[in-house]
Amino acid sequence: MNRTRALIKKITWSIFTILFVIVLNFFLFRVLPGDPARAGIRDPRLKKEAVEMLRVRFGLDKQVINCFESLNPIKVGSCTVNPLDTQFFIYARNLLQGELGISYHTNRPVADVLAERLWNTVLLIGAGQILSIIIGVVFGVFAAWKARTSIDYVAVITSLMAWSLPTFWLAIILLFWGSNNGLPLAGKASPGSSALPLLQQWVDIARHMILPTLTYTIVYMGEYTLIMRSSLMDVLSEDYILTAKAKGLSTFQILKDHALKNAMLPLVTVIAINLGFTVAGAIQIEAVIFLARAGQRDF
């Protein structure tokens, strides 16, 4: 009951956030100087009629919203226009239908451009995150459990080093290692691999993913290990852990039933924050191990 209510609250808030972002982004680009049609096609030889046609193509001939012809420079227009026939509401309606429009830059549907690149990023981040979370949590738990022993020191030093390595540098080092071991260094699949049977295609993609995923995993594993270790050590010094011990629970049971859940809280927060950052682009990894991914889209 409580959980459902909390969930509904969260979802409602995220809807509001998304709405806010949509409204903000829409008007931001209308307030900023420069006509998208002009900015996109930087060719002074274009005729006025051609530009006008482009404006029609991108829907820029319509009023921005009721009462405003344009926002930069501010031009007051008619307030009696059908609101559904203004740029803002057409944009909102298209969004709802999953129609993202046409890119000013590439003149191709935005959805297509995103899809081909987002898939790569999601693969990289998904595999990297899952691996680094698993390894980080396991290392962190061991380090905290065996605190101040050699296991702990090894885990902490390794993690600190992994976390403080510059990502691009680690990627370069791994490229050297990869080239010595015959791993593919760039691209998402070998040329012509689409002719192969499905299984071999997957193996090929997996081989191409090894280096970027490894880079990603090493860096984030360090962070997760350190957070897990310190958080679990805090929890293990709590009174309720003493209670659990007095209850005759084994060390494993104490870790599993009383410590882990409580110690995961800070980690979950950081993972969520990292996901936000990384979906926006694992730029450095992608820049070194050349792959066309969404990250470079924003670069």
């Binding site: 709590e238 009174d239 309720y240 003493l242 209670t243 659990a244 011990k245 007095a246 209850k247 005759g248 629970l249 084994s250 049971q253 039933d257 009383h258 859940k261 409580n262």
Partner: protein, 342 residues
Amino acid sequence: MPGRPTVEKDRGEAQINPTKRTVLEVQNLSINYISEGKPPARAVENVSFTLKEGELIGLVGESGCGKTTLMLSLLRLLPSAGQIVDGKVFFNGKDLTTISEKELNKIRWKEISIVFQGAMNALNPVRTVGDQIAEAITKHMPDFPKDKIQGRVIELLDLVGIAADHKEHYPHQYSGGMRQRAMIAMALACNPQVIIADEPTTALDVMIQAQILELLDNLRKKLGLAIVFVTHDLGVVAEICDKVLVMYGGVTAEYADVDTIYNSARHPYTQELLKAFPDLTKPKKKLSSIPGYPPRLDALPDGCRFAPRCPVAIARCHTEQPMLHKLGDMHIASCHLVEASK
């Protein structure tokens, strides 16, 4: 002690009874806290007591005199720095200081449970109270019918005056007193033979305190539960304890049955403690206090640990540690003056 209410003789079946079985026997227990580069801190030294079925022993002393350390050491729950350096703890003939951790885990909570001081943090904040009580049952009584566990949890909560619908609540939804009582309910979950209660009533108001004391008293009469009761409150001691162990600075000051402690205490520390306790028959009398502080464990005096604060200390007290002197069947005091008058 003239003017002090004498403790009633009639204490029912709980009266110290030689035919009763000894459940817990602590022999010459010494505990050091070890830290690198420093001499070990002698937190508890040479403490002994026995506890029989249905008995209630009061562990009395100022803060920092080793009560909690002693109590935790009985089940080897001390942090790794706290080490038992000498002595034995016998539970039904088994030495708890030497058995394996696995064997000890079968005794923890099943046979000896603990009510911790300040139950505020002693319950896990992310699990419901009912769940935590049920955990103790499923852990130690694997044969307990699964469908009856929830009923048992409700019964236990009812025993300490918590309504059944609080079972599904989290500790933060409980008041301080309720958490303390939930802790007691949890301690009773497996029908243990011994309960170690570390100041279980300090956080409670007087009404609840009286209820809890009555509950514990009933349980030991009904089930033969033996209780180690750690407390500051001499009034509580007089009310329910059979024996009293007075500790000072980690050592036994005096150990005797409750009548002897209240009526013919021999150790100056016990006498001073009793003077610091309000006397209802002389309401105008000013309460006395013992000047000074308990000794720091890293700077223990050479002689008797109480000597610097003792109103009747003689020269010898400052140089030589007193032995434990047996004054009667059930009366031990560690004081040079006792020896002199013997």
